[in-house]
Each structure stands twice: as C-alpha cells, then as structure tokens.
C-alpha cells in the first residue's frame, strides 16, 4: 500500500534527489568543488609561492593584470606592492580561508551537538548552565565577540579558529537540544530508560541519529558564515598574520591602492570571496529547502 520507506525518509541528504532539476544549485556545487580543489592543489598549480620571499621581486610591484614579470612569466591578475602574483596569492589565500572555516565549523558543530545532547539528556542544572552559556554567547554580536577574543589572545591562525568556534557552537547546541528534546518525549526513549540503558548510550545511539538532521542542514550555512567572518577579521587586521594572507587580508592589502587606480589587488580576492560564499549559500539553501516540507510545498504551487 503506502511505501513508508519513501514517505518517512527522515533525512534526505541523497545528493541526487537534492540536486536533480535544480541547475543553480548544481552550478553552486560545481563551483564549490572547484574552489576546494584549487585550494587543495594550490602549492602545485600556483605560478608562484607567495610565501617564499626569495621569489618575490620588488621591481615587479603593482603591475596590472596580464603584465610580463621580470622572470619572463605572465602575471594574469597583476601583482601587489611587493611584487607578489595576485593569482597565486588568491589561491593560497583561498586555501587558508577554507582551512580555517572547515576546522572551525567542524569542531564548533561537534562541540555544539555534544553540549546540546548533554543538555537534553541531563536536564536540571547541567541544562541550565549550558543554555545560559548559549544565551550569553548569542546576546553578543558574533564579530564583536571574536574581536574581543583576538584582542585578548592576540592574532594567529589558531587564535582565529578558536574565535570562530565560539561563534559556531552556540547555535548548534541550541538547535540540537530543541530537536533532541522533542525526541526525548517519544516512547522509545522511555523504553530505553526502563531497560536501564546508560545516558551516554541514549545520547549516541538514540538521540544523535534522530536529532542530527537540522544541524546537518545548517552546516553549509555555518561554513559560509565562518569564511565571511574570517575575511572580516583579517580585513580588520586582527586575523591571520600578514605573512600568510587569507582572502580578507589580501583585500585589506589592496585597499590603500584602490583610489590610486590599482584596482586588481583588492578586486580579485574580493570576487573569489563573494563567489565562494555565494556557491556555498546556493547549495545550503537547496539542502534546507529539500529538508523543509513547508518550503517544498510552496515551491510546488
């Protein structure tokens, strides 16, 4: 009769059904995969190692796109003040931006999901402490909190990852808790309780698989949020060190030259940053829409 399997499939992350018939989402996914590949392969495909001061030549400084460099190669996207090839710098910057965002999102989500589950299972003062901490965190603007963190602990790639993790965990904890609480009302949890199954097993085997769906849907959005936040912090000069420029720092570097007509130093990293975030958001929107029956039915009409 009714195929319950089809009807009740709880979380559909099957790539095929998410993306088929949605060309914009497919384009976003392809774009995202391309950016990730470029980031991973940067040391091998970039024309120049922008971190290696030995290969930089101050004489190549501030050349516009498509100029010939002193060593005979072409700089497709131009160079910055110290003669760094913008294309290479963007590739390496992308690498750093994605790395920071991936680590922060993953670790932040893990912490958030764990604390959310713990709050739901334990209740009482454990729940109160965790949830008040969440309230405290979300009552500050994220970027302000990160600025404060970095002002106190100093800058550096590790420090910015910590700052971003603090931005990520709270919303995940809150979401996990609310969806785990609704699972806690169900009778299979009672069944586990009367069978004296320990709390940590209830968390991992019962609650986690059944309440993780909304968090998974949120992760791509967190990722793009982290990329944006890292770029902002680096642009403001409190993020990554000047020796290892991320996209945000590259934009900041070119900022001073914008008014003197040297547009390429800021614009190219900016375009990459915007397209990367756009790609992820398009994919994230599609996944969210796919998992929200309400949005789906609105689309059908």
């Amino acid at each position: 009769m009714i195929d319950y399997k089809k009807k009740l499939a709880p979380l559909s992350l099957q790539t095929k059904s998410i993306f088929s018939g949605h060309p914009i989402a497919i384009a976003g996914l392809i774009g995202f995969v391309m950016f990730v590949l470029i980031a991973l392969l940067a040391p091998w495909i970039a024309p120049q190692n922008p971190y290696d001061l030995m290969v930089l030549d101050i004489m190549d400084g501030l050349l516009p796109p498509l100029s010939k460099l002193g060593n005979g190669t072409t700089s497709w996207l131009g160079t910055d003040a110290v003669g760094r090839d913008i294309l290479s710098a963007v590739m390496y910057g992308l690498r750093l931006s994605l790395f920071v965002a991936f680590i922060a999102t993953t670790v932040g989500s893990l912490i958030g999901v764990f604390l959310g589950l713990l709050a739901a299972v334990k209740g009482g003062w454990v729940e109160s402490v965790i949830m008040r901490a969440v309230d405290l965190k979300v009552s500050f603007p994220g970027i302000l909190l990160a600025l404060m963190m970095l002002a106190i602990f100093g800058t550096g790639v590790d420090k910015i990852i910590y700052a971003l993790i603090i931005g990520v965990w709270a919303s995940k904890a809150r979401l996990t808790r609310s969806s785990a609480l609704s699972e806690m009302q169900k009778e299979y949890i009672d069944a586990a309780r009367i069978s004296a199954i320990p709390n940590w097993r209830i968390m991992l085997k019962f609650l986690l698989p059944n309440s993780i769906a909304p968090v998974l849907v949120m992760i791509p959005m967190s990722l793009s949020g982290c990329i944006g936040a890292e770029a902002t912090l680096s642009f403001l000069g409190v993020g990554v060190p000047i020796t290892e420029p991320s996209l945000g720092l590259l934009i900041a570097n070119g900022n001073d030259y914008l008014l003197s007509g040297k547009w390429w130093i800021s614009i190219f990293p900016g375009v990459v940053l915007v397209s990367l975030v756009l790609c992820i958001n398009v994919v994230a929107d599609r996944i969210r829409e796919h998992n929200n029956p309400f949005l789906k039915s609105m689309n059908m009409q």
């Binding site: 009769m1 009714i2 195929d3 319950y4 399997k5 009807k7 009740l8 499939a9 709880p10 169900k186 009778e187 299979y188 009672d190 069944a191 586990a192 309780r193 009367i194 069978s195 004296a196 199954i197 320990p198 097993r201 085997k205 019962f206 698989p209 059944n210």
Partner: protein, 568 residues
C-alpha cells in the same frame, strides 16, 4: 420529490499519485457509490486507509492536491458538484452542506470568543445582523444542547470542554439550515461519557431540523447507536451496504464479518477474538524455549508479584515571575495488587491518572507518596545497584504509540535486543538469532528483523514492541493503551497475541485502557479510575455485571451498544 435522494454519488474514483510522474496511483476511492435521503443518518465505516474521509472531502470539493477526482458524479439536489468552481463551492459549503471535524478544539478559532464565531457564521450565511444574529446564536446553541448558552457566548474555546466545543461546532454547522452535514469522526476525540450525549444531540438535530447526516467513523459502536443505514468501505472499495442492524449482525461479506468479530464486546468475555488466523506460535521452539527457561526458576506461589501501596503523584509547576507554584494531583492514594499470571486492568477517561501509575511503577516518574513492592521488595529501598537493575529489567512496558516507541534508526532486531547487548546478557551473534525467534514468536517474518521500523505498519510495530519487552523475560509487563492507536481488526489480532503469549508464558500484565470493552476482554481484575482516584477495584465480572459505583455504571451506560454478530 420523495424519490430523488438528497445526495447521490455514482462510481466515484479518486486517486493519489504515488510517484512524481503519476504513472503509479493509489486509488483512495475506487468506483464507490452512495445515496443519502433527506433527514437520514447514514454511516460510512471502515478502517484507516478505507477512503472514508476522502468521500466527505470530495463532496465539498476539498480534495487537497495531488488528490484527483478521476471519474464519477456527485449529485446534490439534482445538480452535479463535480467540476464546480471554488466560488460555487464556497456558496455551497456551510450554506447547504455543513462539515464537522474530528477535533473540535482545532476547528474553533482559539483567539475569538464562541459568540464571535457563531455570529460570524450566521452573518456569512443569513441576512440576520446585530441583535437578531446574537439572539439566533443563543437559539442555535440551545438547540445544540449547550447549557448556559448566553454566558457561553463570552467564552473562548479553551475555557470549554471538548464535548461543549463539539456542540458549538454543531451550532455553527446548522446556522444556515443546511440540508446535509458531513460529520468526520465527530466523537473520536471525546471521552466515552461525552461521546454518548454528543451523539444524542446529533440525532436530535437530524430529526428536528430534517438534516441528513453522513457520519464517517471507524467505530462500529457509534454506527450501531446512530445510523439507519451503513456503507462499509475497505481500501476505497465498497464492501457492503444495508440497514445498520442487518450489516452489523448478519454481514454477508467476509471482510465485514471479520470486522464485526474484531469489535471487543462489553456484554460477555470471550476467550479470544474469533478471527480466521493461523496459530503461529507452534513451530517456534527456540523462542519458546528462551522464554520458558526462566519460568521454571520462578516460584509458583500465588503471592502478589506487585503491590502498589497508597500511591500518590503530585505534579508541581514551579513558581515563576508571573505565576504562583501550582500543584496537580494526578494520582490519589491508589492501592492494588497484581498476582503472578493475571491481568489487572486500569480503566478511566483521559486525565484519570491511569498511565501515571504505570510510569511510577516502572520508575519513569518519581513516586510522591506510597510505595511499590515488587517481588517482595520495596524498589526504593534496594541499595545494591545490580539487584536494582535486575528488578527493573524484569519489568517491561508495551507503549501506546507504535510510531514513536521504536528507535527509527535501528533495525527491528536491534530494537529488540539492544538493551540485552548493552547489559551483556547476550552475545552479538546470539542476539541476532534471538531477535529473529522473537519476531517469529510475535507473528512477524524472521528475515524482517533486518528492516528499519518505518517499513512496518502500526500493528507490526506494536508486535516488535512486544518482542522487545519479552526479550528481557519479564515478570511483569505494563501495557499502556497498547491498541488505542490501531484499527479494530489489528487490535483484535494484537489482543489475541497477548492472550496467547500470556497463556504460554504465564505473563503478568497491568493493562491500561480507556476502552471498557478492551478491558472487559483482557483483564481478570479491574480498577476504575477517575481524576486520580480508584473508585472501584473488583473482578472483571463484578465490575461489568454488578457495578457498585455510580461512575462505573455511567461509563457502562455510555458505551455504544453493539451486540456483536448474531449467533447462528
């Protein structure tokens, strides 16, 4: 005019697409015909998925896409209703055909007073305005047997009981003097004592106002009480139709007969339900052996296995900035004993505290006062954690809602044996075979132990729940309305299974239900509860044949009278 029926449905077929291309369809209604004369109450009865509600929706043009009316005609007062525009349907709905929903609480708008809602319906469908409309509203409420009608106009839905709300829905439905009312499970959400009087009101309205009523229900008792004529549906197909008494007592079709045999009777206690089913407990030696192994070690004295002494439960809503501390007494001083191998039933309406008792016994709720003596020991006083756990594990539960009582991310087999494995009571290879044996024991396929819960129907999931409870070789099982979410034929099968298992393994059950007839069939002794108090505690025969308390008597009188199949 007398010869032409008020409403006539000919060969109606409604389909739902099962895939996006629409090549595969589910026929919610398959070539169904029906006829209603004015002033007549007809019943449409069937189990879930029979297409009962689809008929009601099709008449009013309320089929939600992607449902599609494929063929057939609906003729109301000589006009076809198929293919009317939304505007034409709107002038029909409420005005000529009323609709009564299952849940009165959601049918009424919670932010408007009763008066505003009744008057709105009057103004939308008649010329009456202002004072006239208000007076007419009071009249309508009185006709629908709403007491203190004038005061009630000021109230909001949440201030009134479900029964009253349903009467107000009736009043709104008759505001425009419709010719026909479609009542979709109008009393399913109500308690049995309320159901009775609400049905009386419905019958009265039909007679006084000459309104024809199509009563859609799964409850054979309700049909027996109210309808002159009944249609039996199954999977959208017409099965049988005739005068109610004939269909209910001397059905000609096999399906109707087995449906009637599934209805639990209140008059007499049967050994099991007379269903055509093969006995599936025969060849399952391993499962049987596993469960019987323990039995031999049990002492066979007739001592009570469980004793509840003066149990009380008070729920406390802690005080907050806006509200003082609130106390709610769910259970008041209830004592009873359960002997090995017997079934004790707790019956009562919603909110009577019957489930709370079981949850206290199982340790899911704290006991406010009193004690539970289990196998001769007060569980609260056992300090040794291993011993405490052993006692707890030997008390199991069969839950109410089959759709939430299994972990959806574990296979049926894992659901059954997960706890045993956690407590190292069984190895992982044994667990697999035990799960299969237990699946077979409760009448499921062994190989289905590999499937996830959503591949099973509600009745099958309840069986998995039973297998899970049995896996601990329990001494005591608390059954918390185990069949209230199931269709009547599935319920009969499941109750038969429980009876068989109880016989084979001398299980001890505490059986909670709101359904007197189910309690009558299942239990040896019965506790009648109301608002947390045990009013009567006696043997099955005494409660049902010689009830002492007047509340018990009123419950029994309120039960819809269905005598069962005629003896042949």
């Amino acid at each position: 005019m007398n010869n032409t029926p008020l409403l006539k449905i000919n060969n109606l077929t409604v389909t739902y697409p099962l895939n996006s291309e629409g090549s595969d369809v589910l026929k919610a209604l398959d070539n169904t015909s029906l006829k209603v004369n004015s002033g007549q109450i007809i019943g449409i009865v069937g189990e879930s998925g029979a297409g009962k509600s689809t008929i009601g929706k099709a008449i009013l043009g309320l089929l939600d896409p992607p449902a599609k009316l494929v063929s057939g005609e609906i003729i109301f007062l000589g006009n076809s209703l198929v293919g009317l525009s939304e505007a034409q349907f709107e002038s029909l709905r409420g005005n000529q055909i009323g609709y009564i929903y299952q849940n009165p609480m959601t049918a009424l708008n919670p932010v408007l007073t009763i008066g505003e809602q009744v008057i709105e319906a009057i103004e939308a469908n008649t010329d009456m305005r202002g004072k006239n409309a208000r007076e007419y509203a009071i009249q309508l409420l009185e006709r629908a047997d709403v007491s203190f009608a004038e005061d009630r106009l000021q109230k909001y839905p949440h201030q009134l009981s479900g029964g009253l709300c349903q009467r107000i829905v009736f009043a709104i439905a008759i505001a425009a003097k419709p010719k026909l009312i479609i009542a979709d499970e109008p009393t399913t959400a109500l308690d049995v004592t309320v159901q009775q009087s609400v049905l009386q009101t419905l019958i009265k309205l039909s007679q006084q106002e000459q309104i024809a009523i199509i009563l859609i229900t799964h409850d054979i008792g309700v049909i027996a009480e109210t309808c002159d004529y009944v249609y039996v549906l199954r999977y959208g197909k017409h099965v049988e139709q005739d005068a109610t008494n004939r269909v209910l007592q001397r059905p000609t079709q096999d399906y109707t007969r087995s449906l009637m045999a599934s209805v639990p009777l209140i008059e007499k206690r049967l050994h099991r339900f007379a269903l055509n089913e093969e006995d599936n407990l025969e060849d399952i030696s391993t499962g049987l052996h596993y469960l019987q192994e323990k039995q031999t070690t049990q002492d066979s004295t007739n001592k009570p296995i469980l004793e509840a002494r003066n149990l009380s439960k008070i729920f406390i809503t802690p005080s907050s900035l806006f509200k003082a501390k609130q106390l709610f007494t769910a259970v008041k001083d209830v004592s009873f004993t359960v002997r090995r191998g017997e079934t004790v039933g707790i019956v009562g309406e919603s909110g009577s505290g019957k489930s709370t008792i079981g949850r206290m016994i199982l340790g899911l709720e704290d006991i406010t006062e009193g004690s539970v003596i289990y196998r001769g020991k007060d569980l609260k006083l056992i300090t040794d954690s291993t011993e405490h756990r052993a006692h707890c594990l030997s008390m199991q539960c069969i839950f109410q809602d089959p759709y939430s009582s299994l972990n959806p991310r574990m296979t049926a087999g894992e659901n059954i044996t997960y706890g045993l494995q956690v407590h190292k009571m069984i190895g992982s290879s044994d667990a697999k075979s035990l799960a299969q044996e237990l699946m077979a024991l409760v009448g499921l396929q062994r190989e289905d132990a590999e499937k996830l819960p959503h591949a099973f129907s509600g009745g099958e999931r309840q069986r998995i729940g039973i297998a899970r409870a049995l896996s601990y070789r329990p001494d005591f099982i608390f059954c918390d309305e185990p069949t209230s979410a199931l269709d009547v034929s599935v319920q009969a099968n499941l109750l038969n299974l429980l009876k068989d298992l109880q016989e084979k393994f001398s299980l001890t059950l505490l059986f909670v239900s709101h359904d007197l007839a189910v309690i009558r069939q299942m239990c040896d002794r019965v506790i009648v509860m109301k608002e947390g108090e045990a009013l009567e505690y006696d043997s099955n025969e005494n409660i049902f044949e010689r009830p002492k308390h007047k509340y018990t008597r009123s419950l029994l009188e309120a039960m819809p009278k269905f005598k069962g199949l005629a003896q042949t």
